[in-house]
């Protein structure tokens, strides 16, 4: 059963801190909310055998990925008493230090946001067909794999 209103979660390039700040700002009119919890994934400059990751290039099986994000969203709303939820993921190049994943949950009370956020992030890591090419400073690369 596929819902018609599947949103596009992907954004080209890094997710800016201004975008995140503005997203927080927009929630200040929702005065039933008492607790927000935000997860940000940031690209690490990992040192692998002496070579340093300078960026990750993200690709995705976009239709399936957006459907999976949608399923995760629906499951989270069913399990937890959330007021709202937003997910954004980068496509294309995201440099070390930049943000590639932004998950934002809000609820009247705090207990539920902790559980919900972890549930959502773990599901994204496990179930969504997104692929990451870790590009080193010398232009060689390796393929990222979630653990």
């Amino acid at each position: 059963m596929k819902d018609k209103k599947v949103k596009n979660v992907f954004k080209e390039g890094a997710i800016s801190s201004e975008f995140i700040g503005h997203s927080i700002y927009k929630h200040q009119t929702k005065t039933s909310i008492g607790a927000h919890n935000i997860f940000l994934g940031q690209v690490r400059a990992d040192n692998i055998d002496g070579k340093v990751v300078s960026a990750i290039e993200y690709t995705a099986y976009e239709d399936m990925a957006n459907q999976k994000f949608h399923d995760i969203r629906e499951a989270a709303f069913e399990k937890y008493d959330l007021t709202c939820m937003h997910i954004y993921h980068s496509l294309g190049t995201v440099k070390a230090g930049e943000i590639c994943l932004f998950v934002f949950v809000s609820s009247p009370r705090r207990k539920v946001v902790f559980e919900a956020l972890e549930f959502i992030v773990e599901a994204i890591k496990a179930d969504v067909p997104v692929f990451g090419k870790e590009v080193f400073e010398d232009a060689t690369h390796q393929w990222k794999k979630n653990t």
Partner: protein, 77 residues
């Protein structure tokens, strides 16, 4: 029958394409895989899952046509 096969990430790097239409006369995913292993040297040793019409399937799933995708390990977030 013709099947659209999509490749992603490390798999697309190996096949050097993101998508192709293949003529296939078998019935199961495993048959399609044999055809792909013959065609792409090194594919058999790669780690990937298979989706049919955007749902993960196993090797003995029946091919119902439409879209097959070879998905290397997920790396979102």
């Amino acid at each position: 029958m013709y099947i659209t096969v999509k490749y992603f990430g490390q798999i697309a790097e190996l096949t050097q394409k993101e998508e192709e239409a293949l003529e296939f006369s078998g019935h199961q995913i495993s048959g399609l895989l044999e055809l792909l292993y013959d065609k792409y040297n090194g594919l058999e040793s790669k780690d990937f899952q298979i989706a049919q019409n955007q749902e993960l399937v196993s090797n003995n799933t029946k091919i119902t046509g439409a879209e097959i995708a070879l998905l290397p390990p997920f790396a979102g977030g």
